[in-house]
Amino acid sequence: MALKIVKGSIDRMFDKNLQDLVRGIRNHKEDEAKYISTCIDEIKQELKQDNIAVKANAVCKLTYLQMLGYDVSWAAFNIVEVMSSSKFTYKRIGYLAASQCFHENTDVIMLTTNQIRKDLSSPNQYDTGVALTGLSCFVTPDLARDLANDIMTLMSHTKPYIRKKAVLIMYKVFLKYPESLRPAFPRLKEKLEDPDPGVQSAAVNVICELARRNPKNYLSLAPLFFKLMTSSTNNWVLIKIIKLFGALTPLEPRLGKKLIEPLTNLIHRSFSSRVLIFICFGFFKLAHKKSFSDVIVSLCYITVLISLSSGMPNHSASSVFLRISVVKYLGLLAMSKILKTHPKSVQSHKDLILQCLDDKDESIRLRALDLLYGMVSKKNLMEIVKKLMIHVDKAEGTTYRDELLTKIIDICSQSNYQYITNFEWYISILVELTRLEGTRHGHLIASQMLDVAIRVKAIRVFAVAQMATLLDNAHLLTGNMQRNGICEVLYAAAWICGEFSEHLENPVQTLEAMLRPKVATLPGHIQAVYVQNAAKLFATILKNQEGNTDSTAAQETSQMMIDRLPLFVQSANLEVQERASCILQLVKYIQKLQQKDVEVAEEVSALFAGELNPVAPKAQKKVPVPEGLDLDAWINEPPSESESEDEQPKAIFTKEEPKHSRPRHTEVDEKELARRREARKQEQANNPFYIKASPSSQKVYQEAPGVEHIPVVQIDLSVPLKVPGLPMSDQYVKLEEERRQKERAEKKKKEKKKRKEKRSGRGKKHDSGPESEEDITPAHVVDIVTEEMPEKSSKHKKKKQKKEKEEKEKKKKKKHHHHHHHSDGGGEESVQNGTVEEEEPLTFLVFPLPRKVCDIQGNLQDGSQVVVSVIFENKSDSFLKSMEFNVLDSLNSKLQRPEGSGPHDGLTVPFQLPPGVSNEARFVFTVQSIVMPQKLKGTLTFIVKDSSTHEKLDFKLHFTCTSYLITTPCYSDAFAKLLESGDLKSSSVRLEGVNMPFHHLLARICFHHHFSVVERIDSCASMYSRSIQGHHVCLLVKTSGQTVSIDAKCDEPTLLGNVLDEIKQTFSQC
């Protein structure tokens, strides 16, 4: 044995420690992996030894390796071993390793429960601290359930260091084991008023996080937080509190008004430090609540503005160094928060924000871009977009440029092109955007072009002219890169030119452009559109030319089609192939007819006759499903997995096909026509003339089966791309100005006329002054397709009527009370209130938090006090006020009333209840004997504001014996002594049919009956609790199968009997 120890210590001398390992890794740069694998082998050897110091050293090294990205999960058990070392230095290493390596699915965590519990109750505060910290990283639902009670006890530890950590970890516990929230909440709330600022801030942190999830439940804490906000000097805490108020104000509008003053104070107080920005910042998160006065907002706003414009705020220049960029970023972020409610105040600083677009920093530029979106109006849209266009030209880096591009389109197209007054301008902007090299957003531009051309009828002539030029210059767009997304634009261009070909000035030239050999290098889906639209164009041209006496022109066009189309017939893309061969045959047939001098134009153009109408995205819903059609049923057997891997391009024949009724002519060859129709349907399916196209139709765009492998002649263009003959968008800005001026002038004229007419009437009429938003009339009208359908308004009315009716009925109905049945039967009071009848449609929900009696430690000294907290929730639609809470005192229990009031006076509840709001009030009772449970009768009176009638609610308060117990930890030796002392009377109870794991059962007793586990051995556990008057209650819980036996000892047999009864009841309920 001795030899072994000596050997162990000699070995240790040669062990590597962490420093050696780090150094070693740095020295083995070339063969790091090899070096580490030898190290891991060494570590494995070290872990096999008995010496705990060696093991700890090994685990320490593993932690480092884990950080470097090596898997060390195999050592999980060794980590647990080191965790359980009695020496703190080793234990700490173990916990650190565990917190880094363990996660919820690590199975050894199960083994740690008892170890952690031991550490939590260790007399050394650092043992407890390290266990808490570690636990926060790897807590599982099981651990949370088993340890919740221990941690809750630690929340009232004497050392703030422990309290703080325990409070924080409770948040994790709540997340993993939500059932623990209720019993722990009162204590958590107490911690808000903890003398130690660290604990306080921890509690604030936890409650803020909880409140974010469900703010309604935390409204009752508002006064407390209000106090904290005015008293606390900890900025971190302040920020959290302000954020919390941000969540609460929408629920309680009056809160907002109350907050104004302290917040102003805060801002003034912090004016001299960088805290300012903190506060402002937290505040802006609040600012979107309407209740805040403009004064405050503008105050904060000005401060941010100062910092923005001067870069370095003068007040912070002296003491702090915050970099300009940091301040700018935060300022912009704050502005975006204000923008939501006070757009006007932000809009006036457009220039400042536009300046930020020039910033070197991408983060700042992106923020500024975000702001622009909300700032545009009819008036400034053109100007802003013009600035953005300049930036697009200057921008380096495709990501930022793409971001700019999407932003421009977002800004222009927002809420149905609300701010666009001149669509010619917009089209030219879109065309200008196509000159961007290497953007990914070609499809976005394309869909905008289609959308505008389809919906704004007046713009079509212009759009078609623009698209024709685009097609003519297609080589400039596609020249450089095959993969670049901009060629998607050609898809839109071709479609628009084809569909609205009647507006084309020179259709033959466009047709020629569409059939150029270079087109074959475009992605397949674009070629398909080209072919289809070439046919449409062809039809138009025929129509135009047939009017002429000279028929050769028409024949020439047919000949051109016949010459060019074979190129597409050979295409690798099925879609293109099919359409091309189809059309080729058709043209050949037409040519034949032409040679016989038959007039065909009428019939050919009939193929494409009819008007396209935009369809609302939800229009399908309006179409009733025919009877007997099950949309969910498979038509064919679902395809097997392997089939989907087929090489066949998808989405050719599977797309849904929007049908449009068009007049059909049957004179043309039936078979031909059928094929044509099929092709046309396909083409329609690929057309996103569905406004706000659903993602499925977007996908079609990306369907670009490999054309990449086709050799392409690359054209190197060093000159900036400028499509000749395209108008610049800038000129529209000027035009728009002129137009507006004209309009204004006209208006004035009219006004003058009016004035002349009315001269006899009123004396003066003010000048129209600077034009307002409404004065600007759009030059074009958009077909706005929204979901609103005309019949909806009538429906709405009906609903309203119905609602009113219901309300009336409700009022007539007798009030039904909800008895909120809390799973916790042992909660100290349950209120039954089923006996009153009321006219008001009030559903009064009164339920207790299972508040521990005397949970406040101060009450420990006063063994006769019980604190009852009641949550009042107003379930009615009216405002309740002047609530009075009164309880009929018994000999044993009395409600504590303020001095000077009589024994039958009620207590005023210190708040009012708006509809749907709940709040909590506390009442203190004095109790003499605690050995018996008790029921107190009480009434709650209140005034309903609208009817100003007095209402009354009866209830019963149930004081169980459990509620007199306080969770008190007890060590096993003290427990043994207590049992040995022989002062205790014993009693026992058996529970049958309890179907839950033992630890659940223990947890349940702990939670509902305020016990703590002293020791647990297999299926047997000893538990302890103490009453407020100092009675010891000891339980020995044993389980076998579904039977649980509880042997109990207590110095007060009556109390014990009642407690046992209550425990029995708890388990009979489940």
Binding site: L18, Q19, V22, C60, T63, Y64, Q66, M67, L68, G69, D71, F88, T89, R92, I93, L96, S99, Q100, H103, E104, Y126, G129, T133, S136, C137, Y161, K164, K165, L168, I169, Y171, K172, G198, S201, A202, N205, E209, R212, N235, W236, I239, K243, R274, I277, F278, F281, G282, R323, S325, V326, K328, Y329, L330, L333, K360, D361, E362, S363, I364, L366
Partner: protein, 139 residues
């Protein structure tokens, strides 16, 4: 809340990492590399906040060392920015010059951040347990 704290050097090597939500080991490496690349590519006079995927990065540079904190949207950017500095000041106070001692740094970090929330910012209170430990080891 805070998602992770990273300390990396100019070469992009991780010197310390702490995650407050579980990330698979395999994904950590990719994430770290990505984050480091983002931060290193920024110039000195650019601001310390980067929007990265669905969260934000707050970073500060100290000589060759970068400290990067990943936070969710609900966290206050500036408070984290200040926290990083606070952390460095604490490190500076404890180690007279920055030296590598991983577990000590972890202890300091654990004292300051728990569950992804800030627990303690007072320097002497942060260092209190550490000095006690040092005394225990010495004795």
């Amino acid at each position: 809340m805070i998602k992770f704290v990273l300390m990396v050097n100019r070469q992009g090597q991780t010197r310390l990492s702490r995650y407050y939500h579980s990330v698979e080991l395999s994904r950590r490496a990719a994430l770290e590399a990505d984050v480091v690349r983002y931060c290193l590519s920024r110039k000195k006079d650019q601001c310390s906040f980067v929007e990265y995927k669905d969260f934000k990065l707050v970073y500060r540079q100290y000589a060759a060392l970068y400290i990067v904190v990943g936070i969710t949207d609900s966290e206050n950017e500036l408070s984290i920015y200040e926290l990083v500095h606070n952390f460095v000041e604490v490190l500076d106070k404890y180690f007279s010059r920055i030296m590598f001692n991983l577990d000590r740094v972890h202890i300091i970090l654990d004292e300051m951040i728990q569950n992804g929330h800030i627990v303690e910012t007072n320097k002497s209170r942060i260092l209190a347990p550490l000095t006690t430990i040092d005394k225990m080891v010495d004795s």
